[in-house]
Subunit: 211 residues, 2 copies
C-alpha cells in the first residue's frame, strides 16, 4: 500500500518539523521559551495540531533531552582512546563539566528538569531511562577498571559511580543555578571546579608511596 506508506512518512515529517521548531526555540532562549503556541507558529499550524503528534509538552521535552545525550556523546568521542582508566575517569569528569557549562539548557533538560522524566513515566511505569543508563554504564565500567587494576580503593562500584557522578553533577547544577555566583569569583569558577575534582581523584588514587 503505497499511499498509507507515504502518509506515514508525512506524519513523521511533521513530527520532525515540530521537534526542529522546538529545538530552534530551545537553542535561542532556553526551554522556558518552548511553548506549544510558539512551536505552532513556527511550523505554521494551529497549536492543537501539535497534540496530534505528541501526547503533551513533556513528550516534546523528552525528545529534546535525548538529543542532549547525543550532543554529550560528541564531547566524549575521544574518551575511549585513553587506556589508563584513572586518566580516563578524570577526563570524563572534565568533559562532563565542560558539556554542562557550555550547554546549560541541554543540561537542565537532561539532569535537572522533571518534565522529561515525567514523560518517561507516562510512557510506561516500568520502563528504563536508556540514555541515563548508557552514560552511567560507561562511568561504572571505568571505575571497575580502576578498581581491578588496583588504582583506587575497592568498593561497591554502583555506590562509587553514584558519588562521582553526583560530584560533577553537583558542580554543574550549582553553577548553572547561580549558587556559586556569590561565593566564588566568576572568572575562577571553572578552575576551582577542576581543582576540586582533581583533588578528589588524587585522594582516591592509591599511589605507590601509600599502603
Amino acid at each position: 500500500m503505497g499511499i498509507t506508506e507515504r502518509k506515514e512518512k508525512q506524519k513523521l515529517e511533521i513530527r520532525k518539523m515540530i521537534l526542529d521548531a522546538s529545538m530552534k526555540l530551545f537553542m535561542e532562549q532556553g526551554f522556558e521559551n518552548v511553548s506549544i503556541r510558539k512551536i505552532a507558529d513556527l511550523i505554521e499550524y494551529s497549536p492543537t495540531t501539535v497534540y496530534l503528534y505528541f501526547k503533551d509538552k513533556n513528550e516534546i521535552l523528552f525528545n529534546l533531552h535525548e538529543m542532549g545525550f547525543q550532543k554529550m556523546a560528541e564531547y566524549n568521542a575521544d574518551l575511549w582512546t585513553i587506556k589508563n582508566p584513572l586518566v580516563r575517569l578524570a577526563k570524563m569528569g572534565e568533559y562532563y563539566i565542560r558539556f554542562g557549562l557550555e550547554n546549560p539548557a541541554f543540561y537542565e533538560l537532561m539532569f535537572i528538569l522533571k518534565a522529561p522524566m515525567e514523560a518517561l513515566e507516562a510512557l510506561d511505569a516500568n520502563c528504563e531511562w536508556k540514555s541515563g543508563d548508557l552514560a552511567l554504564g560507561k562511568l561504572k565500567e571505568t571505575i571497575k577498571e580502576c578498581m581491578d587494576k588496583g588504582l583506587i580503593e575497592k568498593g561497591d562500584v554502583d555506590a562509587v559511580a553514584m558519588s562521582i557522578w553526583s560530584m560533577v553533577h553537583g558542580m554543574v547544577a550549582l553553577a548553572i543555578r547561580d549558587r556559586f555566583d556569590k561565593l566564588v569569583p566568576k572568572d575562577q569558577m571553572v578552575a576551582m571546579m577542576q581543582r576540586g575534582l582533581t583533588w578528589q581523584l588524587n585522594s582516591l588514587e592509591i599511589s605507590d608511596n601509600k599502603t
Copy 2:
C-alpha cells in the same frame, strides 16, 4: 509618633500574613502551588495587594528560601558537639542528605530553583548570599580543621569544600529530580548514597598505614 509606629507594625503584620500563607501553600503542595492569587485568597485580599508588600513572586520565594536555611540549621544542631573534624564532616554530609530528602520542597528552593537567586540579584547586584555563605563557611571550617590535623590531604580549602558540597548536592538533586529512580532500586537509594559518601571520605582519609 505613636500612630505611624502602629501603622508600621500593621504593615509588618500583613507581610507576615502573606509569608505565612505562602508557607502554608508551599508545605501543602510544593512551590508550584504558590501563586499570587492563591496567597491573596488565603489572606482575603486582592492579588494586587500582595504587590504592595513584595516586589514580585521571587521576593516571596526568597523569604521562604531563608526559612529553609533555618530548618536546615535545626538538622545540624548537634554537629558542633562532634570534636573530630573528620567525623563531623561525615555527619555534615549525612545530615545534608537527610535534610534534602526529607524536605525536597525546601531543598529545591534553597539550591535548585533560580527564583530566589533572581530576587537576590534584583535587590542589589553586588550583594551577598548570606545563608549560603554561612553554611558553606561551616563546611570550610571543618575541612580546614581536617587538613590542619593531617587527617586529609592538604589542598585548596575553597576547592575542596566546593567539591564535597557538590557531591552531596548532586546526590540530593539527582534523587529529588528522579534521575536515580530508573537506575537504582528505590529502597536502596539512601543506603547507596550513604555508602558512596563514606567510600569517598574514607579515600580522603590519610590512615596510619598510608604514606
